[in-house]
């Protein structure tokens, strides 16, 4: 298959893979249920009409597919899509392949908000709210701190500000864990490790709105990100307001990542690793790189979540698995590109 025809079919292939991934993930899980019965329930869920009064399945089986698996699978897909796209956009605007969403401090801020909510025994919905608020607060602090720099629009100033703010919020997370009671601590630690257990429709909506709306905004900006990757001077000479564009993209990325952390905890490495995979597949052009990163991110995280809820005995947090898979991969890329340069990766 030459590159032109591959470019033609790739969006359909990736899209189909994501849809098949979602359907396949709905078929598997800890509840003892045959594939055929699960498939029957899925087909009835997909059908717009009312469900039959006397279905061919047990009410528990319908509950498992509809109430437990569907939100979880969607949440994993959306989180992966958001993180993959956020990573690709950040790497583009910073012109640095080692940048990930974690570096702008949002992840740490959202983590702080979440554990703070747990410390005060807030309701799950309120914890999502405090986590989202923490992520936004961290983003504003990062922007404010970068604005104090002489060249605030410079990507490096923002990254450094993100590192400082992230370190500050990580320290606060540690402080909260320190004062938390014995009963609260395991829940906090588990949430911080990142997992999709306990997904419900509210969490899906909370992740879906920023991811799909933010993703759409990033998609409209993808041509400009291409210009930005030429360098600030070249982009400005082509009519791009570099400072505004960079801040706008970081704000969108922060919202996406903040929402993801608030609903599923910290899932690292996806925003760093997936854009590299996508770059290998579609090249460095952000018109294709952004959507490809989103779809690959969705597949990547969905696959990890399937692994943890089926193959692995016990629920190993997805955040742990993503780090276990991501670290060797990025090491391999680092080794490979020592002689060839990152852009060839």
């Amino acid at each position: 298959m030459n590159s032109s025809s591959r470019g033609h079919y790739l969006p359909w292939l990736l899209g189909l893979a994501v849809l098949l991934g979602i359907i396949g993930s709905l078929l598997i899980g800890a509840y003892p249920m045959s594939f055929s019965k699960a498939a029957l329930i899925i087909s009835h869920l997909a059908w717009p009409g009312p469900l039959p009064n006397n279905p061919a399945w047990d009410i528990k089986e319908q509950t498992v597919v509809q109430i437990i698996r569907l939100p979880r699978v969607l949440l994993a897909t959306l989180s992966g899509m958001g993180l993959g796209m956020a990573g690709a956009a950040l790497q583009g605007v910073m012109r640095n392949p080692l940048v990930g969403p974690d570096l702008v401090g949002v992840t740490s801020g959202a983590a702080f908000g979440g554990v703070l909510g747990m410390l005060f025994s807030l309701s799950p919905v309120a914890i999502i709210g405090t986590a989202c608020f923490g992520g936004l607060a961290a983003m504003l602090l990062t922007f404010g701190l970068a604005g104090l720099a002489r060249n605030g629009g410079n990507g490096m100033a923002l990254i450094l500000a993100g590192v400082f703010v992230g370190a500050f919020f990580i320290a606060l997370v540690g402080l909260i864990q320190f004062v938390a009671s014995d009963a609260q601590l395991p829940g906090m630690v588990y949430w911080l490790l990142g997992s999709f257990i306990g997904a419900d429709p509210q969490k899906v909506y909370l992740a879906a709105i920023p991811t799909l709306v933010g993703g759409a905004l990033l998609m409209t900006l993808r041509w400009r990100i291409n210009l930005l990757s030429l360098g600030d001077l070249d982009a400005a000479s082509l009519g791009v307001d570099v400072r505004w564009l960079r801040w706008a993209i970081i704000a969108i990325v922060s919202l996406i990542v903040g929402a993801q952390v608030s609903v599923a905890g910290v899932i690292g490495w996806v925003g760093l690793v997936v854009p590299h995979l996508a770059r290998m597949l579609v090249g460095p052009d952000h018109r294709r790189l952004l959507p490809a990163s989103a779809l690959l991110g969705g597949l990547f995280v969905l696959g990890l979540d399937d692994l943890t809820r089926t193959v692995v005995s016990g629920e190993v947090p997805v955040g742990v698995l993503s780090a276990l898979v991501g670290t060797p991969f990025i090491c391999f890329l680092f080794w490979k590109t020592q002689t060839r340069g990152w852009s060839d990766a």
Binding site: V64, I68, L78, D182, Y190, G198
Partner: protein, 374 residues
Amino acid sequence: MDRCSREAAWLVPFVCVGLVILALLRAEPRFTVSGPARTVVDGEGLPVAIAEPFRGAVFTWGPGIGAKTLLEAARAPEKLASVGTREDREDFAHEFWSRIFPAMLEDDRLWDEPQLGYARGAVVEQERALAMEAGAFFGGGFGPAKLLRQLGIPTLYFQRAENWDDYQAAAARLIANVAGHPDRAEELIAQDRKGYAELAAELGTVPVVEQARVLVMGTSSPYYVKVVNNSYQPYLVSAEVRNATVGLSGQQQDAERILSMDPDFIFLMARGKSPREFMADPLWRGMKAVRAKRVYRTLGEGGGGLPGLTDAPVLVRWIAEVVYPDRLRPTMRQQLRERYMPRFGYRMSEAEVDADLHLDVNLGSAGYERFTRE
């Protein structure tokens, strides 16, 4: 045109995912109890219909109350639908509950299912919870219990309370009610209250200035200490001793802070260094408690953990007997030996009492010979 369709093709998967999300708008399935049922009001005042005959209880993560509370409150192992994993079964075999209810160890039905992820977090094992055939689930406002209640499966929450004993008492009443033996919980609570009342009458009031300063701690750095806001604090208050950590927050402390507390008595957690090893450590030699050899391993198999209602007054008496030997008669061995007799008909052997008192490691500590066999 071709370029346009190519660009649009990238949007199609996003639209599809958006459409899949719409499936969440479907009405949720709802469970209903059919056939004969009775209604029990849970700790939050919610009436819960429980099908008859009762098919057994399952405890989910979070509230700190589990199958052992059912055994203690209702004395009805047959009312359990599941207890835990194979590993839990091995642990249970080493506990005295397995000696009181030996048939439980032989009942494979109780140990086939996981204990709903007690140690791993609030919201694990939802699919496994649904796969269980139980008459009722117990839990809190999170984890599998939240989902089960949302779906209409009989799920009972425990009542919040000011302290661990009151919380356990309310939980015992609820569990025994569900198990169909409400009178048994009342017996347990009465025994608990009687134990405290007898101790208070014998101990009298110890003036605050005369109260010993006590520290309950672990032995690995950073050192875990029972601070004032720990659920253990009411036991220290009932034993009329002061917590040496007053003014400190945070459960992990460094050696310097512990040295600066300089308590009169130190109670070590069950798993860790023995009092002898602790007192031999040059780090602690300057402490008042070490110089006076007033360092003890805390009573019980899981000494330092939160006790059940049967054990709580005995633990408090043990602390008081160690700290104020002149105020109390040496009845600890008898108390330990007899504590399960009234409700379980189980008399502990002398060897079991020795083990609970940790005589093997505590005999080198001041005054502990009062706890030896006569």
